[in-house]
């Protein structure tokens, strides 16, 4: 039984090691996020014309999925965790779409 527990603990740590990235990898991800944030802020000072809204929304989505995938390890973790999280996220988006539609179609 002791052996089982020890094996289990080792297995657990091995799992964590597989999920994680190297320190340099994390710093690269953070640098990418910083550059993307800089691009976002630049839209306030520079006129992007009709591309303004799409650029901001794409940058927001890219930053969101980078943090979720790499910092929160969803890319490397069990698909069950992804299912739990994205179910909540898509339900939230659905709530917004329904609320917006309600105001659009039923407002006098």
């Amino acid at each position: 039984m002791t052996t089982t527990t020890a094996e289990h603990t080792d297995h657990g740590h091995a799992d964590h090691a597989e999920h994680g990235m190297s320190i340099a990898g994390y710093i690269k991800i953070a640098a990418i996020l910083a550059v993307l944030t800089g691009l976002e802020v630049s839209t306030y000072f520079v006129d992007f014309g009709p591309a303004f809204l799409p650029v901001l929304l794409v940058l927001m989505c890219v930053k969101f999925f980078i943090v979720v995938s790499y910092f929160m390890h969803l890319k490397f973790d069990s698909k069950i965790f992804s299912f739990l999280f994205y179910t909540g996220l898509f339900l939230a988006i659905a709530v917004y779409v329904v609320a917006l539609s309600t105001f659009k179609f039923f407002t006098a």
Binding site: G12, Y44, F81, Y86, Y96
Partner: protein, 200 residues
């Protein structure tokens, strides 16, 4: 055999899926938090144009200041992930160091939010001034409370780690707090774009 299986399941909090119950619970909680913030963001998006006689969003937002505080919160995700990496290497000193740095960055963000709210109030935007004001303060205030709770959680883990009071898988405890912390960061990524950068 049965005894071994029972010990296997309960002592490490693993479910029949082989996954940690604690981690499953945290992801389920974060999924439900998406709904909470989804509702708040939706409400803000619907009411941000209802300014009444109060100031408009463009008149009270200080984009350069908020950009800096957004950057601070974003970088706290890096220090958090470094804390998790240190915990997985069983480096207590490194874990505590990065957790404290994360808590300091989070506190800086909350301090910036308090300053921003104060400035907005002096510019005439109170909680009941308009639907825009109510929905703005409710959304960003809820987020600020989440960051504050995150800071308390980080400092609690540091205190418990220093006293060696964390039972079970220590790196998992740090990872769970980290998941919560990254979540408040991704919520701010959305708020920063939809609330601050896209004009009403």
């Amino acid at each position: 055999m049965a005894d071994t299986a029972l010990h296997h399941d309960t002592s490490h909090g693993h479910s029949s899926t082989g996954l940690s119950n604690n981690k499953l619970g945290m992801w389920l909680f974060l999924g439900s938090e998406c709904l909470l913030f989804g509702g708040l963001i939706s409400t803000y998006m619907l009411y941000r144009g209802r300014v009444g006689t109060g100031p408009r969003p463009g008149n009270v937002y200080d984009i350069p200041f908020t950009s800096v505080s957004s950057f601070v919160l974003l970088m706290s995700s890096l220090t958090m992930v470094l804390a998790v990496a240190a915990a997985q290497k069983r480096d207590d000193r490194g874990t505590n160091l990065w957790l404290v740095v994360t808590a300091l960055l989070g506190s800086t963000f909350v301090g910036g939010q308090v300053y921003e709210f104060t400035a907005m109030y002096h510019e005439g935007l109170g909680f009941t001034t308009s639907l825009f004001g109510s929905s703005f303060y409710t959304l960003t205030g809820f987020h600020g409370v989440h960051v504050t709770l995150g800071v308390i959680m980080l400092l609690s883990v540091v205190a418990m780690n220093r006293k060696n009071e964390i039972s079970g898988n220590k790196s998992e405890v740090v990872e769970l707090v980290g998941l919560y912390w990254h979540f408040v960061d991704i919520v701010w990524i959305i708020i920063f774009t939809l609330v601050y950068l896209i004009p009403a």
